[in-house]
């Protein structure tokens, strides 16, 4: 039986950043799939199981935080990380990674807590 590859949905409105994230995650042996809007993300999540989702907080059509809540209604086990240039609001409990971040920080955030 082969190795299990982490399938990650990348939700990022900026095309260059989206490509960058896909490239570096692929380079780390993960299997990323990307889209640019919240609606596209929900459509992908309805049709496919992902192990994790990383989403920008400011994406077209929805906030990243709201996307996480809607995504977890589809898959309660989905590990989600919100990427944002803003500090984490005190009333959210989602995993939050402040931009700018290093690849090490991103990979750390994608690792589920033990």
């Amino acid at each position: 039986m082969g190795e299990t590859t982490l399938e990650v949905l990348v939700v990022e409105g900026d095309a260059e950043t989206r490509t960058l994230l896909v490239d570096v995650l692929s380079g780390e042996g993960l299997e990323p799939r990307a889209c640019g809007t919240g609606e596209e993300a929900l459509e992908l999540l309805r049709g496919h199981h992902f192990d994790a989702m990383i989403t920008d907080e400011v994406v077209p059509g929805i906030t990243g935080t709201e996307l996480v809540h809607r995504a977890r209604r589809l898959d309660a086990t989905l590990h989600c990380v919100v990427l944002s240039g803003y500090p984490q609001p005190s009333d959210t409990d989602v995993a939050w990674l402040r931009k700018p971040f290093s690849l090490g920080a991103l990979l750390g955030a994608l690792s589920r807590p033990a």
């Binding site: 409105g13 570096v24 400011v58 931009k99 290093s102 690849l103």
Partner: protein, 198 residues
């Protein structure tokens, strides 16, 4: 006795010291752990011009000590990789103040299995663009109504030609609906191509 005294002869063994001293770049030799073992006049001039004391920038001080946030672990990793790999590492980066825009080219040259030479060369310096009035937000909003800003150096992307603009009024108070990215200059700092791949 300075515990990094061994580094100065290592530099002298690889380079002509008088040539390094005449170079207007800021040149500093550090041990693997960041301790400074030798530096040229350009390094001390630049350091003092930016408020550095001898204790902070002289022999024995730690090169990484003045860095904060993700910049420090990035540079620590880059130095470790450069020493371990034995190959030079190069990077363009911006180090601006509120009034002066400056970019530098950094070369890391491994000296031995335990040290390297860092050469910081000023590549551009000019006054910051300082428009007096906040610009028209609509000009910077994309098809989704979002403004794109660099999360590191706070510049704003012009959606028409993808140039990056310094807008002081928005550094103070960001408009609504700003999406943060890492601009091409900062990408080299946070996500250097090739560094994490194989």
């Amino acid at each position: 006795m300075d515990s990094v005294a061994w580094l100065s002869p290592v530099v002298a063994g690889r380079f002509r010291i008088e040539t390094l001293e005449r170079d207007p770049s800021s040149i500093v030799a550090i041990a693997r752990d960041g301790r400074i073992g030798w530096a040229n006049r350009g390094w001390f001039s630049f350091g003092r011009e930016n408020g550095g004391t001898t204790a902070a920038i002289g022999v024995g001080a730690n090169y990484f000590a003045g860095m904060c946030g993700d910049v420090r672990p990035f540079f620590e990793a880059a130095v470790a990789d450069c020493i371990a790999g034995g190959a030079p590492f190069e990077l363009d980066y911006e180090c601006s103040s509120a009034t002066v825009y400056r970019t530098f080219h950094l070369r890391m040259l491994p000296l031995s299995g335990e040290a390297l030479l860092l050469v910081h060369t000023l590549t551009e310096v000019r006054p910051q663009d300082r428009p007096t009035e906040p610009p028209d937000e609509a000009r910077y909003r994309d098809e989704f109504g979002l403004i794109t800003g660099c999360s590191n150096r706070r510049r704003i992307r012009d959606p028409v030609d993808s140039s990056w603009h310094w807008i002081p009024a928005w550094v103070e108070t960001m408009p609504q609906h700003v999406t943060h990215v890492i601009c091409p200059i900062c990408r080299g700092l946070y996500w250097p191509e090739g560094r994490f791949h194989g």
